[in-house]
Structures are given as C-alpha cells and as structure tokens.
C-alpha cells in the first residue's frame, strides 16, 4: 500500500486500506457490498481522525474545500444524478 502524507497515520491507513481492498474485491464487485456501514467503517474513522489533523496543520483542508466545490459538475455527471 502507498504511504500517507502524514507518517503518523501510516499504521491506521494501512489497516483501513487492507480492509477496503478485501471488501472491494470480495464483496463490492460481487454485488454484496452495497451498504456504507461495513467492516471497514470503524477503521476508516480512525484513519480520518488522524488524517484530518495533518490536513489542517498543513493548510490543505481549505484547498480541498475549493477543489470539492469545483468538482460538483463531475459528480453530477458521473453519479448519474438527475
């Protein structure tokens, strides 16, 4: 797996990534992983708790907010929302 931009988050990130990959290949692609609440949810929360601090410290959180705004058209197109 790839590293996190915040080295202190590498451990929780690795655990989440491993869980996600297993869920993706064994459940999601087989049509049984439709729920957002799954075995990786708790690991994702742990990872985000660590990462959000790092993003704030580096001032990246603000840039991401703008990037999300700019991406709304793509979301509408690719999420097939009417």
């Amino acid at each position: 797996m790839s590293a996190s931009l915040a080295p202190e988050c590498n451990g929780v990130k690795e655990r989440y990534d491993t869980c996600f990959l297993k869920w993706y290949s064994e459940k999601y692609l087989r049509g049984t992983g439709k729920t957002d609440d799954n075995e990786c949810t708790k690991l994702f929360e742990d990872y985000q708790k660590c990462l959000s601090v790092a993003l704030k410290e580096r001032g990246i959180d603000k840039l991401l907010k703008e990037a999300r705004e700019d991406n709304k058209e793509n979301d509408a197109e690719h999420m097939k929302r009417k």
Binding site: K13, S25, Y28, L63
Partner: protein, 190 residues
C-alpha cells in the same frame, strides 16, 4: 489550452484492473516514485445506483523544471485531488483529477476511464487538459503548458509500466491466497 490523450489495453479482466487500481502506487510499482503519498478522504456507495465514489489526495514530489518553479513558486511537493466513480453495473471506473497546488496559476484536469474489452482485457483512456492561467506573455504560458504536457507524457508511460508490475503481482498474490484458502479448506475437511 493543451490537450494530452493516451490509450492503452491491459491484458487483465476489468475486475482485476479495477481492484489493482487501488494499489497502483504501492511499493510493487517502482516506476512512479514521484507519487509519495495517496490518502483517501471520503468514500460512499450510492444506494440508488451502486456507484462507489472515492475522494483521494495524491501527493507528488515536485518535478516541474526549475524555470517553471521560478515563475510559479518553489515547493517540495505538489498535490492532486482525485474523485473516482466505480459503476459496477456498467463496469466502468472513471477518475477525475485536478491540481490543488498552483491552482490559481495553472489548471490541469485529467480524466481516466477503465472499461472492459471482452472478458480478459481492459481499456485505459486518459485525457488531460492543461491551461496556464497566470498573467503575462502568451509565449510563457505556452511554454509552461508544453512543459507540463511533456511531463504528463513521461509520467503516463511510467504509470503504465508500473501498473503492469502491480497487475502481475496482484494476480500472483490473489492466486497464492486462493491456494492457501483451498489448502485450509482441505485440511479442515480432512
């Protein structure tokens, strides 16, 4: 504005490619060392369509030529915001990325689509639009755009080679895991 397009066929199923895609930038890939971190920011499955939407932040070692850095500012790393959409019904992976570093001076938007081509092949289509927004001479803007197109081309080639390594390793590891599970089952039955 400059446009960069590229397409390629991987000799792996869409399921294999879409899975390995999540670890494209892992240590199995020694070609894309410019990517130093990949962080997942958000992930959700749309209940109505089954589409998996993921936001990631990709951190790269700054590799712009020195003269570009002189104009745009010097930084050690640059970052890209990527949103991807996996549509399991249509079997497509669409990834849209844009730069958040130097975003007020250059605008780079890349779209990558992976689609199945039969049962054992997957097509990769990449398309990037590069626009220098910084004020000043058109000649300088053109040079910046050209230099970024060149870098895109180089990284795209490296990305393809590196991803081939990841695909080969993924197939091997999955086969080994299946074998282990099979042996485990056999032992349980015995």
């Amino acid at each position: 504005m400059k446009v960069f397009s590229n397409s390629y066929t991987f000799n792996y199923s869409w399921e294999e490619v879409s899975t390995a895609n999540w670890r494209k930038y892992c240590p199995w890939n020694d070609k894309t060392t410019h990517v130093i971190a990949v962080d997942t920011l958000a992930r959700e499955v749309d209940q109505a369509t089954g589409i998996l939407r993921t936001e990631r932040l990709i951190t790269c070692k700054q590799s712009a030529p020195d003269w570009v850095k002189t104009i745009l500012g010097s930084m050690d790393t640059s970052q890209v915001f990527e949103t991807s959409y996996v549509n399991p019904a249509e079997k497509t992976v669409t990834m849209v990325s844009h730069n958040i570093t130097w975003a007020n001076m250059i605008n780079v938007q890349e779209t990558v689509v992976y689609k199945p081509m039969g049962a054992n092949q997957t097509s990769f289509e990449q398309d990037a639009r590069i626009t220098a927004l910084c004020g000043g001479w058109q000649r300088i803007k053109n040079s910046i755009e050209d230099s970024l197109v060149t870098r895109f081309h180089e990284n795209s080639m490296k990305g393809k080679e590196g991803f081939e390594c990841v695909l080969a390793m993924s197939r091997r590891v999955f086969a080994e895991e299946r074998e282990k599970e099979r042996r485990g089952d056999a032992k349980m039955k015995a």
